[in-house]
């Protein structure tokens, strides 16, 4: 058995962009070879992007992906990289697609090894996750065979993502057969605390096959999902020998010594928990913009903490000069709010326009004479119209500023403050919004300027544009009592429990799926529990925001057709 050098190519792909993804594989393969790698490993579904949802069902797409894999193998060879083993992911078919459309061929989630100018070996994912964000069992047919191959006497076994999260299947087979190293390609979406779980499950499989494990994960944003990278290598005993950074593209190498043990390589430091979540939000927005060809954003700046944090994230994602902040004061907006909005815009170097809504409100009221909630919603909807006017007239992505606490409780105006194409903090509870704002200010004080947060595409950005005062988000926006300012003296706490309590109940009810009895056992009082459950259960429609309608035809939009919003595939 010889010494072997592996490269972990943690790249950001775009769903449907077969050309762009293949070009990136080529680029990283060159870089890996230059650094002496014999094997380079890419993430799950590298060529197609991930998740491709119902795109997988299009035979023309599978055909195009197959052609691209073959093109890539030839291209690598003619570039002098034929000796390199390139492990990458793509979509396969149960039968050749080339015979014609509407065949009964079914999609497979496939790993291919490109070598000596050909697609040299293939493996199809066995375990197709079908829970949470995953719909793979709906789309793909499970594979049935394991795959091993030898590189200079070293025996590699492979697995794809969920294959290592389930007992049995391909890894059990590889354990019986015996391998020298387990290579896994992954598209594992980010969630708080998941890096720890990934490492545990990988350690379990390393022990099972009694060999080191390579875990290469995708990085980047794709619609609602953010992939954080954080690829790593564990020794057979679970010791970490290599770790790639999170949220950036990366090419890291490590050596498997001739005695079968992995040599220690670079271990990227773990991120602060606040920095991790903040970076996930910035990368999600940055990639959504890039992959949908937006270069700037617009949003309403109320002076409150939600819009301030979103604006800061936007500035970090695309630079302050590409952010249009719109202050839209009403007769109920406090002077403090207006000042805070202006300060924030100045801090991040954003464009700042003031569009008072009172004249517009009065014009509507002359015709409609609305009261109470209807009058409050009217203000929010006028603002929605203005934000969308900026979006349409300047070609900007409107970003929504709602947080998870208010979305969960329906404490927002549909078609009002909820308008936009991307909502960077929709999965952050309000208390988390405050925490991240404080973290961003601490980072600013430590010199991380606008654009300095390390995510794909601005790896070199730190420390970014310096902040005049060293503070990004006005302290006032963080410490004042939250208010929608839609009527005199209004406070969020008039309608909702205090956020410190509300967020605990929401976390238990939504994120940990506690029922009523559990919530009471958790120590929450019955009144709060009933209030929160009622609000959350009734807000489902607002969270979806689009009109439901009857299904009449064989294939309708909605539940039938599940396509990525972001997709570069064109036939």
């Amino acid at each position: 058995m010889s010494e072997i050098r592996f490269a972990l190519a943690q790249i950001d792909t775009c769903v449907g962009d077969l050309d762009g993804n293949a070009d990136k594989v080529l680029e990283y393969a060159h870089r890996a070879a230059k650094r002496g790698a014999q094997v380079v490993v890419f993430p799950e579904m590298t060529l197609t992007g991930y998740p491709i949802e119902d795109l997988a069902l299009r035979a023309t797409f599978r055909k195009a992906a197959w052609d691209k894999a073959n093109w890539l193998a030839v291209e690598l060879d003619s570039d002098g990289l034929g000796d390199l083993y390139v492990v990458a992911g793509t979509v396969g078919s149960t039968a050749a697609d080339a015979t014609g459309p509407h065949g009964e061929a079914k999609p497979l989630n496939r790993l291919v090894v490109l070598h000596q100018g050909v697609v040299w070996a293939g493996y199809d994912k066995h375990f197709l996750p079908n829970y949470g964000v995953f719909d793979e069992f709906r789309i793909f047919t499970p594979g049935e065979k394991s795959l091993t191959f030898e590189v200079e006497g070293v025996k590699l076994g492979v697995a794809i993502c969920e294959d290592i999260w389930q007992d049995g299947g391909p890894v059990a087979e590889l354990a019986r057969e015996g391998i020298d190293i387990l290579v896994t390609i992954n598209g594992s979406p980010y969630e708080e605390g998941k890096t720890h779980v990934r490492r545990e499950i990988a350690a379990k499989r390393a022990a099972e096959v009694n060999a080191p494990i390579i875990y290469v994960n995708q990085v980047g944003g794709q619609d609602d999902l953010v992939f954080d990278g954080g690829s790593f290598v564990l020794a057979a005993d679970g010791t970490m020998v290599q770790r790639s950074p999170q949220f950036v593209e990366d090419l890291s190498l490590f050596t498997l010594a001739a005695d079968g043990t992995p040599e220690p390589a670079d271990i990227a430091p773990a991120l602060d928990p606040d920095e991790e979540v903040y970076s996930a939000c910035v990368l999600g927005l940055k990639d959504y913009m890039a992959k949908n060809h937006f270069t700037g954003v617009c949003l309403g700046l109320s002076g409150g903490i939600d819009s301030a944090l979103v604006a800061a994230m936007a500035a970090d994602a695309c630079g302050g000069s590409n952010v249009w902040g719109i202050s839209m004061p009403s007769m109920y907006s406090s002077d403090g709010s207006k000042d805070d909005a202006a300060d924030l815009a100045r801090n991040i170097g954003a464009h700042y326009d003031v569009q008072p809504i009172e004249p517009l409100f009065n014009a509507f009221q002359q015709q409609l004479d609305l009261h109470d909630v209807a009058a409050e919603n009217l203000q929010a909807r006028i603002r929605g119209v203005i934000v969308m006017a900026y979006s349409n007239s300047k070609g900007l992505l409107a970003v929504a500023t709602g947080n998870k606490s208010e979305l969960a409780c329906g404490y927002s105006t549909i078609y009002g403050d909820a308008v936009g194409g991307y909502a960077p903090i929709k999965d952050l509870l309000k208390t988390r919004v405050w925490e991240l704002s404080r973290w961003r200010n601490r980072a600013a004080a430590a010199g991380v300027g606008v654009g300095g947060v390390k995510v794909v595409g601005n790896e070199e950005g730190r420390p970014g544009v310096q902040l005049a005062a060293g503070v990004m988000i006005p302290v006032n926006s963080i410490i004042k009592a939250p208010s929608a300012e839609l009527r005199p003296g209004q406070k969020d706490s008039d309608s909702l429990p205090e956020y410190a309590l509300l967020d605990q109940v929401l976390a238990a009810y939504i994120e940990h799926a506690h029922g009523r009895a559990d919530l009471l056992a958790d120590g929450f009082d019955a009144k709060t529990v009933d209030t929160v459950m009622r609000l959350v259960d009734r807000a489902e429609w607002k969270r979806r925001q689009y009109p439901l309608g009857p299904k009449v035809t064989a294939l309708a939009f909605g539940r039938d057709r599940r396509l990525p919003v972001t997709s570069a595939f064109r036939e």
Copy 2:
């Protein structure tokens, strides 16, 4: 073997409404017994409603459903109906839920037989559909055993919906075992032409078990789905011996003679294809309103055909006096359009308000000075604000008037004409909108007045309120060239291919999943094909309408949590 009398109880249930659904079962069981039935058969998931999506994952919900099934068995017995065999659907668990929350029990799609005061027998669905609108494999665990039981010497076998759509499984087992009749309970959503397919598949299974088959289907609207009922009985040779009407609740009886052959019973006439689709749309809206406690609707009336048809459907669903039609003319609206809107409102007996948008448009323009598409969208969004103001201030359901052709092509303004909670014609191509409008006028001429269309809840309504002129939808609205009237002289055909052509391409591309090569082979010209594909592929975001955002926590809204919008379940 004795003669046995069966009742087919085709009822409309509400997701999560355990009390209401159980009460309805009780009521129909009484009616069935009074008419001499020994066995009464209800639809799939009768007690819980269907589809329950991720509600199934809540242990408290499963526990409540189990308690309700037991309550029902006792109640039937104490009402003197203990001898009756009640076949109904509910949710089960792989293990008793009663032991506590967060157990690892998994949900089952279950059929129960209630008899002599107990839940007497159970069967769990084997084949869990996981395509199109179905997500059952995601939620439920497959059953593994078949079930037969005897009623006075007659051997009944059972199956649930998808179990008869797949070869093998429980029906194959019943065929080997031998049964006298196959009883199936179904939640089969409506789609055009499906009644024919259902009958074919049922005939195939009848032949397989060499016995008659009972097919009881749910009726009613549940969010995006409409269930059409149309329950039926086939003899072993596939002959239809009984058929219940579509779109209404129904209790029909038939007798299985002592020699094992079913006696001919009532066969409801098949509906005209236009009437069928129109009724589906009306029932979807009617049930969405009823199950979400709306008694009236509001919508913009432009004088165009889309809003006219939707208004007619709304009047049929809830009565003209519960419809608020709002004419919102701009500087570009023709006099003809305004007259057509007023005529329509008068025909259906709707409230009719005129809210000119020019003053509002001018107020916005003074601040924003928008041009081109941004100025066009502004008009549509001002209308959206007005419609929502009516919705908020009067407690009305805003109904969106977009059709499938324009939604597919993105030919609508997000937060503008697309606002609303329910979109009755979102799955109808524009040419179908014209066809249904003509059908409704023919029906009106034949005496079917407002509210006279036969759907659940207004079975007695025909002929409904008489129409003054015998015409419901102004002929002008049907025959004039479609226009958004957002700029002078604008016509839909400026931006889109003619609908007669566009709809053919859309049907092929969306409903029949033809790719580019297929579309060319279908005979469409390349320019049209490319235009339509580009429009459809780019409009995904508009069709979803809500902001995407990064997933950060373990359970986020969106792809993680899939709950019904309409659900009456409260812990």
